[in-house]
């Protein structure tokens, strides 16, 4: 397929995944604001760490200064100055889809275009009539529709691989960043089991990734930092864990390499990242230092994104 088409598909997936992450952050933030805070900072700290996790804290501070909840909600959902806002992501994904209509089924286009048209309606509605949880839920419904249309109607060709590469790269990056913002609460030496505050922070983290219930089913018993790290990094059952994302990237890069009869550097790096994770235990991660490990992982994923660009998307492939 055209390199430009592949590039657009890849970015449609990245934008949709990012919109979904933002919606989750809104849900968590809203929830935190409803709970009397224990320990320092309260919801302001939580919002701040959520903005940091999404890489939008600086942009927000420049535009609004102090973190007032309503402003944060507007910034994360509606603000087109924020390239990662849900509105920006949905509009960009739809514009990319318009460019590559021919590579999408009618259902996928319809799902993306409907999301965009409804967003335009929401943007015209009085803010006071909009409930932030309803907006977040609207977003996760739409992204689920889009993904569902992709999974049920799209040809399993190279375009499908580029979409899934986009999803998994973005998801791996989002999960790692979200953990990194909270890494200090997962440090074993702060493992003050039973104190309400830490327990609450961990649960917030799991909620932010929509895996709280899954975690309870998979592990049961006490919530501990070690279990959480294991679940979010090394557990292949967790849909957002780093190893699940890495595994999926290997699958799709292998399919591309086979389909094009051409191995690539991106494929080799994805395999290396996956093998690294597969050889780890929570202990080796905590020995290296969670923060250091996550930093390394985020850099690896960024390097992988560059290789995917060079090997497939740039148009300079020979």
């Amino acid at each position: 397929m055209l390199s430009r088409t592949a590039d657009n598909l890849y970015w449609i997936a990245r934008y949709i995944e990012r919109a979904e992450t933002m919606a989750r952050l809104l849900q968590v933030g809203e929830r935190i604001s409803l709970v009397p805070h224990v320990g320092g900072g309260g919801f302001r700290n939580e919002w701040d760490s959520l903005l940091q996790a999404s890489g939008t804290a600086d942009g927000f501070a420049r535009k609004y200064g102090e973190a007032v909840q309503r402003n944060i909600e507007s910034y994360v959902f509606f603000d087109h100055d924020n390239p990662s806002s849900i509105a920006s992501c949905v509009a960009q994904a739809r514009e990319n889809a318009r460019i590559v209509r021919t590579a999408l089924t009618a259902q996928v286009w319809d799902a993306l275009n409907t999301a965009f048209q409804e967003l335009r309606q929401l943007e015209r509605t009085e803010r006071s009539e909009l409930d932030i949880l309803a907006l977040a839920e609207w977003t996760t419904n739409k992204t689920a529709m889009i993904k569902g249309a992709i999974d049920t109607t799209l040809l399993r060709n190279d375009g499908w691989d580029f979409l899934h590469l986009g999803y998994n790269l973005e998801r791996a990056d989002n999960t790692a960043r979200l953990m990194d913002v909270k890494y200090y609460v997962l440090l074993p030496q702060l493992d003050l089991v039973g104190t309400g505050y830490d327990n609450y922070q961990w649960i917030t983290l799991l909620r932010a990734l929509s895996v709280l219930r899954a975690f309870r089913w998979a592990y049961g018993g006490e919530v501990t930092a070690r279990k959480i790290a294991d679940f979010l990094i090394l557990n292949g059952q967790c849909p957002r864990s780093l190893i699940t994302c890495a595994c999926s990237m290997v699958t799709h890069l292998d399919r591309l390499a086979e389909g094009y009869a051409r191995p690539t550097g991106a494929q080799a790096l994805a395999r290396r990242i996956h093998a690294d994770l597969a050889g780890m235990t929570p202990d080796t991660i905590f020995d290296e230092g969670l923060h250091e490990f996550l930093g390394r992982f985020v850099r690896d994923v960024a390097a992988l994104a560059r290789l995917v660009h060079e090997d497939y998307l740039s148009g300079d492939v020979r």
Partner: protein
């Protein structure tokens, strides 16, 4: 629709259909149609004017109807015209027999801005310059059709012909069961076959066809992507193509892939910055060299525009006689060339009842409709004509046919024209239908979408 106060037979069933449709249902259906257009994304994009960039062309649900007999005559006339126009193009870029024979003045051809010196002496595959000829027609009587203009470059609007039909079938399936309406959905397949049939001689396998678009900000982008999708070919921008060796290549995820036929939807001037406008970022450097050495086919061929120029238009019936040895089936609207002193005099004396157009204009801009203009407007236009007579032609205001159209108060007659799309490659083909454009404003004769025009489904009924 009416003749001598009676409903003309092809419209008989439709009259019942409209009578049976209460106003509320009509409004509901109209809203449904618009929602469908928007949902499918059939919009034309207007950037830089503020407001919503995605505009809808107004869709009128009342179809326009032709009988098969009416259509067969039109079809013969259109195909004849397409063959003559292509013969003319081959001739004027070759020996120029029609000019030597004194049938067309040399300066109108060789001094024409659309005459492309870069392709003189080059004969494209199968001798076809214009692979899609859009012939704009108006009807002035039961058997009287006039050609308003020919479009030999890249006539647009065919996606509306196809989508208008899809939407009508979806909204009013009963109409299609009751009326024997000939289908038009073969068009994309015929277009693909036409383009593949003009692959260059150097192509030794199943030809790779691509549509070249200026990009997704272009107002007709939907049509470009629609056609690429329906034909199953790549939609490329200039940046996706490059020239290497004797061929044109696409940048793909698997490396370069050779392109044999380019259906371009950009103007000649932007095709190749090395040959035409050096500032063009839309084209492909070196494309024309590959074209002239037979490494790629460009449809329509560069230079095809000289055949649809408004000054050349007058001579198309002459082309039919000269090249085909046939009598023209379709007539031209009588046209006065302001470049000629005697005709200019007639035009200036009768401005209040003429339509005056710029020779190179399009889109309904820069024209004067005498009967609908004020004295001040006419005076202003007179000054423009006197300043540069060669830039204008004039035509009588025709008693254009009308077609029933849904308006606020119910149904009212509105003026319509018709653009069928004739395909020319190995064969000359035409699907039974076209794009009917309608002037939605009462009394208006201007059907262009940029000037408040809308579109309708166009039916040809089987016997």
């Amino acid at each position: 629709m009416y003749e001598d106060g009676q409903v003309r037979p092809p419209y008989a069933r439709l009259e019942h259909w409209t009578r049976a449709m209460p106003a509320e249902l009509r409004h509901l259906k109209q809203a449904e149609a618009e929602a469908l257009f928007r949902r499918i994304g059939i919009t034309f994009a207007v950037y830089g004017e503020g407001g919503d960039p995605d505009r809808l062309i107004p869709f009128d649900m009342f179809p326009r109807v032709f009988t098969q007999a009416e259509w067969l005559r039109l079809e013969r006339g259109i195909k004849q015209r397409a063959r003559a126009l292509n013969a003319f193009l081959v001739d004027v870029y070759g020996r120029g027999e029609i000019v030597r024979a004194g049938r067309i003045p040399a300066h109108l051809v060789y001094r024409n801005a659309a005459y492309e010196k870069a392709v003189v002496g080059f004969v494209p595959p199968r001798g076809v310059y214009s692979h899609i000829v859009g012939v704009d027609l108006v009807r002035t009587g039961p058997d009287q059709f006039y050609v308003l203009e020919d479009n030999c470059r890249t006539p647009s609007g065919v996606s509306y012909m196809l989508e208008n039909r899809e939407i009508m079938m979806r909204m009013f399936p009963a109409l299609f069961r009751e009326n024997p309406i000939l289908p038009v959905d073969r068009y994309p397949e015929l277009l693909r076959r036409t383009l593949a049939s003009v692959a260059p001689a150097k192509c030794d396998r199943d030809p790779t066809v691509a549509i070249l678009t200026p990009g997704h900000y272009n107002s007709a982008y939907y049509e470009h992507s629609f056609l690429a999708d329906m034909m199953g070919v790549e939609l490329v921008e200039g940046q996706d193509l490059f020239v290497e060796g004797e061929f044109v290549w696409m940048r793909t995820t698997e490396g370069p892939r050779k392109v044999d036929v380019i259906y371009r939807r950009i103007d000649d001037a932007f095709l190749d910055p090395l040959c035409f406008r050096p500032d063009s970022a839309l084209g492909v450097p070196g494309l024309m060299d590959v074209y002239r050495s037979g490494g790629v086919t460009i449809a329509s061929a560069p230079g095809a525009g000289v055949a649809d120029d408004k000054a050349i238009y007058t001579y198309v019936p002459e082309m039919v006689r000269f090249y085909l040895g046939e009598a023209p089936i379709l007539e031209n609207v009588p046209t006065w060339q302001c470049a000629r002193a005697d005709e200019l005099k007639h035009v200036l004396e009768n401005l209040h009842e003429l339509v005056v157009k710029e020779v190179h204009g399009s889109g309904g801009y820069g024209m004067l409709v005498g009967p609908c203009s004020t004295k001040a407007q006419i005076a202003a236009f007179r000054a423009k004509i006197e300043a540069n007579p060669g830039n204008y032609i004039a035509q009588p205001t025709l008693a254009l046919s009308t077609c029933p159209t849904f308006v606020e108060e119910g149904i009212a007659p509105r003026h319509v024209d018709l653009r069928p799309y004739c395909l020319m490659g190995e064969r000359v083909e035409l699907v039974p239908g076209g794009l009917t454009r309608v002037a939605l404003t009462e009394g208006s004769l201007v059907v262009n979408s940029s000037q408040g025009g809308g579109v309708k489904d166009t039916w040809v009924l089987a016997e």
